[in-house]
């Protein structure tokens, strides 16, 4: 791709705007697991009028904000191994219990990043096939959480579509994604394709289709 092509593409919503849209869609009282990276932005946009309970798969339910300098305790960390805090009403458990919350269908929502998502809701986000393969809890989360949200840029760094007909990378889960939030649009994964829920006003449908390999339903 040339620089000219990159400049011609619209930026759409920024990361914080996407995070805010997801935050608005998380219902009061829900149990939520936020993936490492972009999804970590979501919690700061949750309306003060509702309470969300955050799960971290290393055995922490009721996770609070990142630890301030004076709060740092390397025995109180999140799944990204960063020092965090625990809120009143929080609890600790061992790994089998923590993953029973996931695998047993008790987590209402998980939000993860993506390398590719197919029109059938297949997700690839754990390995490109090169380097050290490392999966962590991603396969458990997509198989077990009641709703699996993907938060991602619409295009790769090379400006190729991440929303594809069929994933080319190794899968994290098959037919697991329920909703996709990108900088261009929000989609629900349906039986016959990706149903467009909302589109950024900087772009039109023709632009969206051009930059999406997956089938979009208007």
């Amino acid at each position: 791709m040339t620089n000219h092509n990159i400049q011609s593409l619209k930026p759409g919503w920024n990361r914080n705007e996407i995070a805010s849209k997801i935050a608005n869609d998380l219902p009061h009282g829900s149990y939520v697991n936020l993936g490492i990276g972009m999804p970590e932005l979501i919690s700061q946009y949750v309306d003060k009028g509702k309470e969300i309970i955050y799960h971290s798969e290393n055995g922490l339910l009721g996770m609070g904000p990142p630890a301030k300098e004076y709060e740092i305790d390397y025995e109180l960390i999140n799944a990204g191994k960063k020092p965090v805090t625990i809120l009143p009403g929080g609890s600790f458990c061992h790994h089998a219990d923590s993953f029973s919350m996931i695998r047993g269908g008790h987590i209402d929502y998980c939000v993860l990043g993506a390398m590719e998502v197919s029109e059938k809701g297949d997700l690839a986000n754990w390995t490109t096939g090169a380097g050290i393969p490392a999966v962590g809890g991603a396969m458990d989360l997509v198989a077990g959480a009641k709703n699996v949200f993907v938060m991602t840029q619409h295009l790769t760094k090379e400006n190729l579509p991440k929303l594809v007909k069929t994933c080319s990378l190794p899968l994290t889960g098959k037919s697991v994604v329920t909703r996709i939030y990108t900088n261009y649009a929000i989609f629900d994964v349906c039986d016959n394709g990706l149903k467009l829920i909302k589109m950024n006003t900087q772009i039109n449908f023709e632009f969206l289709e051009k930059h999406t390999d997956a089938k979009i339903i208007k």
């Binding site: 290393n58 993953f99 999966v135």
Partner: protein
Amino acid sequence: MEVNKLINSINDAVAEVFDGATIMIGGFGEAGSPVELIHALIDHGSKNLTVIANNAGNGRIGLGALIGQRQVKKVICSFARSPKSITFKEQYENNEIELEVVPQGTLAERIRSAGAGIPGFYTATAVGTPLASEKESKFFDGKEYILETALSADFAFIKAENSDRYGNLSYSKTARNFNPIMSMAAKQTIVQVKNIVGESLTDPEKVITPGIFVDKIVEVNNPIIETNAIDNGEVYP
């Protein structure tokens, strides 16, 4: 005569580890990782070990050091990639160490199952992915699951906060992680603990791992804090 699982010397605690043993090592990253027991194992010198852990070590202390000393032939873990990993990365890239990648929840459940006498179980995790290839699958109520088998070990290295002479354990915050389930899944469970309390843990309601799962306890009052040690450039031995 009283039951007493306390051992004075950390070197004695790991003395029965043999070449070719399979060892579970507790911890999620540095939280709950029994660094001093691992260092005692480096001194002990056992080779051709298979390590079951969530990660594959950071820097050149703890599990990172054990791998660096070329005592480990295989790692079974969920996440071997870390910005601070040196030794595993080097040996993996040179095809000098084996890796079995297991999804984190499946890893935990395989360990728990071994401790509970369950030889295998079906799970939806990893269905349709490369990690399900060659695994038996079965449909329940129209949904596909794969068969995973129990994962046991010869030894478990555990880090806990408090213990009494019976081996009843309590933990600190998210340093609990894999420690309670690994303590159930090994033939011999060796624990390093920050505080040994008197006759018994003061409140039976606070016992997380009952003493039946523990064989040996050694006191390590001021364990290494991995982040600080790596930032200070510490290496072992």
